[in-house]
């Protein structure tokens, strides 16, 4: 059986670790069920530095060292692969997750130590390649869903792997392979009183993907959003599309999993990491969330404060929870039931209150709906956490004025994220030339610098430079319309009015609903 080391890279280094590596722990669980020998080193939780990582690489004779995560972990991952090669030269070095799926050929070029990359969903590909490695079969040319390095050093991308049909076929994540005490210690967050007092919070996932086609977003090639096509040079390329294979766990799978976490790990809070609970609820025609709420109560997970309708305090028992919502898709009755069942706060990606920006965004919301959503959510008892973005391609002084005016009306204080073109998103392919230009021809430098969108990397605004956006962010934070008017006056006075960023067509993105492949029913893990 293959001896596998899975490494979770450091994410958001400036903050404490708050989120378990959900994908990696699911893969560990699947591999163990197939009989493989698996260890996880959660570098994000431990934060011990690269010296310790080298010791981890030397701790065993690993057949496979697998490292992967989101694009913003690129710098860590690159260094980790270099150290893996140095300390464990005989192991197969495998990459996976968002950072390689969004740009497999670039990554294989920039990190020559990688032997094999799993592109897109890995639930089937991971055990499949472990099985091959076990049999000493290192020819991956007929394995779908991978990018592999040929003896000649060149990398080849194979056709997309069909995603699994039924998420309930999945085992639970291998929680016991994670340093949970570190995550429990960091349970509290500042989104609601209940999450602020959480002592044993755990991430749970109810669905994969999202039906919307927001231009800044991306679905990791795991949502029917990815196909593979040949480019003009005859090389396979990933192509992201508006195609979607919507998949969600059954309410009973989700609630049973939370019940298990409550009984075995004594959790008091469940954070749903789903991209958008409301789009899944809409896909189920409004049944899914209601059933989850009913079962939550039936299984004894409803927190005491909600049962008795009393203020929450530290003696409260049961499991509170939070998730993500959508201004155009939420329904008051559902929100009310969610509140009753213990939901404390919902993240709303409102992004802007400008009609023109919202029309072009692909989110399916309007300024009026964005405005009313805050009140609707609040009156259900749930706290809305609205997210705002600044620096859209179409951003103007007027659009900012619309956003500030609405924020004043609704009592929102926010320091907006900067519009950032993460690899995989429609924005990335539309503005790739402009990004490369801003990074003086060095795309890898852009990728290595990507972090939170709370700092400027490359801009995609047609009108504003990075320097201007930093000032405008401060003005939005202060909701200062006087300063905004002054900035506009000076801007018109000082600048030749020419567009600074231009969109382009790209072979890697189709703004059409071309679905990626999905398996037929009946997979067993």
């Amino acid at each position: 059986m293959a001896k596998v080391l899975l490494v979770n890279p450091v994410v958001r280094e400036e903050d404490i670790p708050r989120h378990i590596p959900y994908g990696i722990s699911l893969l560990a669980s699947i591999a163990m069920k197939k009989g493989h020998l698996v260890q996880i080193y959660d570098a994000n939780a431990w934060r011990k530095g690269f010296d310790v990582l080298e010791k981890v690489f030397r701790a065993d004779d690993w057949d496979v060292i697998a490292i992967g995560g989101l694009t913003t972990t690129y710098r860590f991952i690159k260094k980790a692969f270099q150290l893996a090669k140095k300390n464990s030269p005989k192991s197969i070095l495998m990459a996976g997750g968002g950072f390689i799926t969004s740009m497999p050929q670039d990554i294989m070029g920039w990190i020559p130590e990688i032997d094999l990359g799993l592109v897109g969903e890995a639930f089937v590909t991971f055990p499949e390649v472990l099985d091959k490695i076990d049999r000493q079969d290192f020819n991956f040319s007929s394995t779908t869903g991978v990018v592999f390095r040929h003896k000649n050093g060149k990398s080849y991308l194979t056709p997309a792997k069909p995603v699994i049909k039924n998420l309930d076929d999945l085992p639970y994540p291998a929680w016991d392979l994670l340093p949970l005490d570190i995550y429990f210690k960091n349970s509290a967050n500042l989104f609601s009183e209940e999450s602020f007092t959480a002592k044993r919070r755990m991430d749970v996932n109810g669905s994969l993907g999202c039906g919307l086609v927001c231009k800044y977003c991306w679905h990791l090639g795991t949502t029917g959003d990815m196909i593979v096509e040949e480019d003009k040079a005859g090389e396979n390329q990933v192509v992201f599309t508006y195609g979607r294979n919507i998949r969600y766990h059954s309410p009973s799978y989700i609630v049973n999993m939370v019940k298990h976490l409550y009984e075995v790990y004594n959790i008091d809070f469940a954070s749903f990491i789903d991209e958008n609970l409301m789009t899944m609820d809409a896909a189920s025609r409004g049944i899914w969330l209601n059933e989850i709420c009913d079962l939550w109560k039936e299984k004894g997970l409803q927190p005491t404060c909600r049962q008795k309708n009393i203020p929450h305090d530290e003696d409260c028992r049961g499991v509170h929870w939070n998730g993500t919502s959508h201004a155009g898709l939420h329904k008051f009755e559902t929100l009310k039931r969610m509140h009753e069942a213990g939901c404390t706060h919902l993240v709303y990606g409102l992004e802007s209150f400008d009609p023109n920006i919202l029309k072009n965004l692909g989110k399916g919301s309007t300024a009026a709906r964005n405005k009313s959503s805050v009140g609707i959510c609040l009156s259900s008892g749930i706290k809305p956490i609205p997210n705002i973005i600044l620096g859209f391609p179409e951003e103007t002084f007027d659009s900012i004025k619309n956003t500030i005016t609405a924020m004043k009306e609704l009592g929102i204080t926010a320091k907006p994220h900067f519009a950032t073109a993460y690899p995989g998103s429609e924005w990335y392919y539309s503005y790739k030339n402009s990004i490369i230009e801003q990074y003086e021809g060095d795309l890898e430098k852009y990728i290595a610098e990507l972090g939170d969108a709370s700092s400027i990397s490359a801009t995609i605004s047609h009108h504003f430079t990075g320097v201007e956006l930093i000032g405008l962010q401060e003005i939005i934070y202060k909701k200062d319309l006087r300063l905004l008017a002054l900035a506009e006056k000076n801007w018109h006075r000082n600048r030749k009015q020419e567009q600074i960023n231009y969109p382009q067509d790209s072979i890697n993105f189709k703004s059409k609903s071309v679905r990626g492949p999905m398996e037929a029913e009946g997979r067993t893990f």
Partner: protein, 69 residues
Amino acid sequence: MEELLKGNYKVTKNIEIEAEEKSENNLTINFKKVALNSIGGSMVYVERNTLVWEGEEEAADKKNEIKSS
């Protein structure tokens, strides 16, 4: 010892971390992290511990003094 690696079997080698070095490092790293996160106004952070000063500016200043006197 902290269980850095968790799995379904026992790994062949133990991972030793030098306790002293680790805690010193941790304090420096943690302090830097907290300090950098609160930068603004009078809160500033100097990363260097040593900086070699060669006294050139002083010499230059002296020259200026002589000239101007």
